[in-house]
């Protein structure tokens, strides 16, 4: 059955995603081209959350930017890296103080939306989905932002 069951392959399990947030996360991870085999479990019971989502990706591991996307859109999520069906690494994705070329500032008057200027935003350790544009200081939520 090797190759048929995702849990026996190498890949990644993103666990403890806030309930029904996984579809938005999948959209932002932009995996359509790679199209890894994926299992999406929505509204699962959880010991720590009232309900959670869980996504299993076969043969795919997140880049640093993907980890930042997970940290912003799914605060509290954990990443489990699998090799031959075994969890070899389990960790919570972390955000740097400044995220670069990841999200577009939601302020339509911002210079980053008018000219060819890099997209940079400050993160907030206390509010994981909150961002502040490095250029115009506009505060916005990653949940309402467009990802690059």
């Amino acid at each position: 059955m090797k190759g048929r069951s995702v849990t026996t392959e190498s890949g990644t399990v993103v666990d403890h995603i806030p309930c029904w947030q996984a579809p938005a996360l999948l959209e932002v991870l932009k995996l359509k081209e790679l199209a890894p085999r994926t299992i999406l479990l929505l509204g699962q019971t959880s010991k720590t959350l009232r309900a959670k989502d869980l996504v299993v990706f076969q043969g795919w591991g997140p880049t640093l930017l993907d980890e930042q996307k997970i940290a912003l859109l799914a605060p509290g999520a954990t990443i489990n890296r699998l090799e031959n069906g075994e969890i070899v690494k389990k960790y919570a994705p972390r955000l740097p103080e400044l995220v670069e070329q990841l999200v577009v500032c939601t302020n339509s008057r911002c210079i980053t939306n008018a000219e060819d200027v890099p997209h940079r935003a400050r993160t907030d350790e206390k509010k994981p989905s909150s961002l502040q544009c490095y250029y115009c200081d506009h505060k916005f939520s990653a949940l309402e932002a467009k990802f690059l």
């Binding site: 302020n107 210079i111 000219e115 060819d116």
Partner: protein, 310 residues
Amino acid sequence: MSALPSTTLSVEHLVSILDLSMDDIDLLLRRAQNQSSEMTLQGRQIALLFYENSTRTFNSFKTAIHQLGGITCGFSGVGGTSVLKGESLHDTVKMFEEYADAIVLRHPNDGAPRWASEISSVPVINAGDGQNQHPTQTLLDLLAIKDTQGRLSGLKVAMVGDLKHGRTVRSLSHALAMYPNNELYFVSPPSLRFPRHVVETLREQEVEVMETERLEDVIKEVDILYVTRIQKERMESPGEYEEVKGSYQITTSNLLHVKPHMKILHPLPRVDEIATEVDRTQHAYYFQQARGGIQIRKALLELLLGVPRK
């Protein structure tokens, strides 16, 4: 033993009032209050890049530079410039840094001066960016407050009018939040209140903040009444302006029971929010406030360019 006051700024550019420390502000105000007639900018050229028209800010920078013996280049309004041909801010800044010792930038897009400061090899001064910041206006506001009240802490300050679109009130609130025991009263129609995140940030800094629609709730209490114009040009529709125009008009009858030392400030231009009869009262200080714009901009240029006085 107290530390000696600093003689240099901690920043290379002035983009946001939040970039300055209290020591920086103290140094700038002291320098502005102690003007000299030295030609400290002799042989220096300053680029004034004003993508939006401006009367006071443009001319006070120009006057400040000329009084210090410097010369200016640049534009006020983009008519007749390469901007209309599609030249980017990046290229305009890179070109003018070759001509000038410093760049003074006013731009309609929020954050443009921060971007300019990243790419420029000469100091950049924000002369107003969109609805974001106007730090030199804030410095002259602080100078007016210091001159009239003798301090920048323990004050009750009301800001009245268009708080949603006004960059001057936003910058001034952040500046006053640096000093202890200031209480801020925000007086505006509901549709022109400060963006929520501005108020939240101030409260996180433990500043006493009160929002109200009624000027009469606060006018007797305050030391400073900072009045702003309703910014018609930044409204999303003509109907939005019609709903709020003339919301507040300060007349002499409003001033009957205010504190004797209370001063009215305004970033100007005014439309109808302060009746001209108020100009003749002891409370009017907006024209003297504007004069401070030249003093503070001279101090800022000297300190950012590191030119010594004898």
